[in-house]
Symmetry: C2
Subunit: 158 residues, 2 copies
Amino acid sequence: MEDQPRWLTDEEMEAWLALVSMLIKLPQALDGQLQRDAGISHFEYQVLAGLSMSAGRTIRMSELAQLADGSLSRLSHVVSRLEKRGWVRRCTDPDDGRYTLAVLTDDGWQKVVETAPGHVATVRECVIEPLTKAQIRQLRDIGRRITDAADPGGTCPG
Amino acid sequence: MEDQPRWLTDEEMEAWLALVSMLIKLPQALDGQLQRDAGISHFEYQVLAGLSMSAGRTIRMSELAQLADGSLSRLSHVVSRLEKRGWVRRCTDPDDGRYTLAVLTDDGWQKVVETAPGHVATVRECVIEPLTKAQIRQLRDIGRRITDAADPGGTCPG
DNA sequence: CTCATTTACTTGAAGCGTCAAGTAAAGTGA
DNA sequence: TCACTTTACTTGACGCTTCAAGTAAATGAG
């Protein structure tokens, strides 16, 4: 990749190690709380939450995949499971038969309403409260820059 | 969790969404590069790198698990695979038969030497270079605070 | 010295994500 | 209008992680 691989300085290494730990521990904390209290994964929550915020609680699979930061294939599997649990229905888009519309059922809406407060509390506890207001702005900027660098041009999901 | 769930402000939500995207995209980028160029996962790299930095290229499983931020069970499975590929050996600690020592073989050392430059380059590209020097320090502090909040007291691995 | 407990690790089954391959509808060119 | 391509999604197999249960060595109580 480079002839002379530039190693990391001490400062860079400290930041990198702190980031790696966060990358492991934070998803565990988020998934753990949702799994214990609601029996769903963080990704499933993102799917339900994305649906709940869509007009008519309905959205195309491909748009939902982007909202929830996942591949279409992953979403398809997850929606199948959510369908079995009665929280989501699928139907073909009448305007264009290639699209599939995911629809949040009343039970699914209820599930989001029940689950959201606990999830938000965990996010506050793990992310918002440990940081100062300035750090929250810093985090937004840092997060965006790293995301752009890691995924230049926002993925074409497979 | 709270009677009156405090929702997130716009600033908090922006930071949170940026963080969630980073949480998805960065591991994908890191795993992707290592998988393509070296045929190993990021976790496997962390295990090999942890071993390569240990005295005598030898370390107890439980210490290695903490170094690599993973459960003992996960590590055990991964070391089994690395053993099959000839990069790691296991032996019982002569001082205390309950401990297992993982030892990096010469082939394993060679693998780390081959793989490290490309991995470091990806870390530079995705994390270090997109940020200013100030942001790198901010990231270290933010990462530590979030990790502490998400995992109060540094896990007892299962 | 013996039995129970603790510690450190291993193992097998179950579930989720990814990848490659497949299907079906819509668009395109002759 | 008939094939060819593209788009949107689904499906099945495989690999990895987690969880629960198990093993084996060391420690501790009586």
